[in-house]
């Protein structure tokens, strides 16, 4: 609705625009969503017999996960670069960086697919142990977040972005910044998931 103020420009006394405040509040609720699962993880780990989590954790594939970590970090930096390119009015670079981000996200999913299926091939399922249960739940929810993010990214990589670029450059930059915040958050979650699931 065109009559809603502060969609793009900052409100003087708060220094924020609506969508940025909105996405941070959304991220706050996401922190609590993953927070509930983290809390469950720690609770279950403490309640479990000693060494149980460590034993099952050692069955996970660390090199694959390390590679995945690097993929997500890369996608994060290209995400922020694509935003910077928009700010520098370099639309082609924007598309390139966003494309790399999407590819990294897709590669992450592919690696995750191989990780999951190799577990299933070895007869390891969520019902195999508490650790595996929480591992599949946490990473599964994270994968859902990646998929959701990718859908948005693909939308902004599609022809739609050319249209927005021609119509309202600031709006596109704002949308990319917001999407970026979400994407970095998904990366952030993985940064914590990686050590607690794979390394400890």
């Amino acid at each position: 609705m065109s009559n809603i103020p502060y969609i793009l420009e900052e409100r003087p006394d708060t220094g924020l625009n609506n969508s940025k405040l909105g996405v941070w509040i959304f991220l706050a609720s996401e922190v609590m969503l993953f927070g509930g699962l983290f809390s469950a993880y720690v609770f279950l780990r403490i309640a479990a017999p000693e060494g149980d989590f460590g034993y099952w954790g050692s069955k996970l594939n660390v090199p694959m996960a390390t590679f995945n970590t690097l993929l997500l970090i890369t996608s994060s930096v290209t995400m922020v670069m694509s935003w910077a390119s928009l700010k520098l009015e370099q639309f082609d670079k924007y598309k390139m960086y966003l494309g790399i981000t999407i590819l990294c996200g897709l590669a992450f999913l592919v690696v995750k697919y191989f990780e999951y299926t190799s577990k299933f091939d070895h007869g390891i399922y969520p019902s195999s142990s508490t650790f595996m249960g929480i591992y599949f739940t946490l990473t599964g929810l994270h994968v859902l977040h990646i998929i959701g993010g990718l859908l948005v990214l693909i939308f902004f990589w599609s022809k739609q972005s050319d249209k927005m670029w021609n119509e309202d450059k600031d709006l596109l930059a704002n949308r990319i910044e917001i999407t970026g915040l979400y994407w970095h958050f998904v990366d952030l979650v993985w940064i914590f998931l990686f050590p607690i699931l794979y390394l400890l």
């Binding site: 706050a28 930096v77 520098l88 050590p195």
Partner: protein, 101 residues
């Protein structure tokens, strides 16, 4: 965020590259440490510290929190407090439980 001029963006891009390199290095470090023979407590602190540093880098630079408004900072601090409550109170309750498991 403040300072959206061309120069500042170009300056930012240099920061992004540096942050990216630090993140990659820290990832390698944390994986390498996990292959060392250390006690669980040590491994735990190293892993969580490294993850916190990496997370802070992403938050501060990629998500521009370092130059973000007070309101956002307060929102996140509140969330962090709520998260810590959610994390620790059930844990403490485990240690203060009548009867065994």
């Amino acid at each position: 965020m403040a300072g959206n001029s061309k120069e500042s963006i170009e300056h930012h891009i240099k920061i992004y590259i540096n942050v990216f390199i630090s993140l990659a290095v820290l990832t390698v470090v944390t994986v390498a440490v996990s292959y060392l023979e250390v006690s669980f407590i040590e491994a735990f602190f190293i892993a969580i510290t490294v993850a916190t540093i990496k997370g802070s880098l992403v938050l501060c630079y990629f998500m521009h929190l370092i130059s973000e408004r007070q309101a956002i900072i307060w929102l996140l601090v509140t969330t962090l407090v709520a998260f810590l409550i959610l994390l620790f109170i059930p844990l403490i309750s485990l240690t203060d439980q009548v009867g065994g498991w």
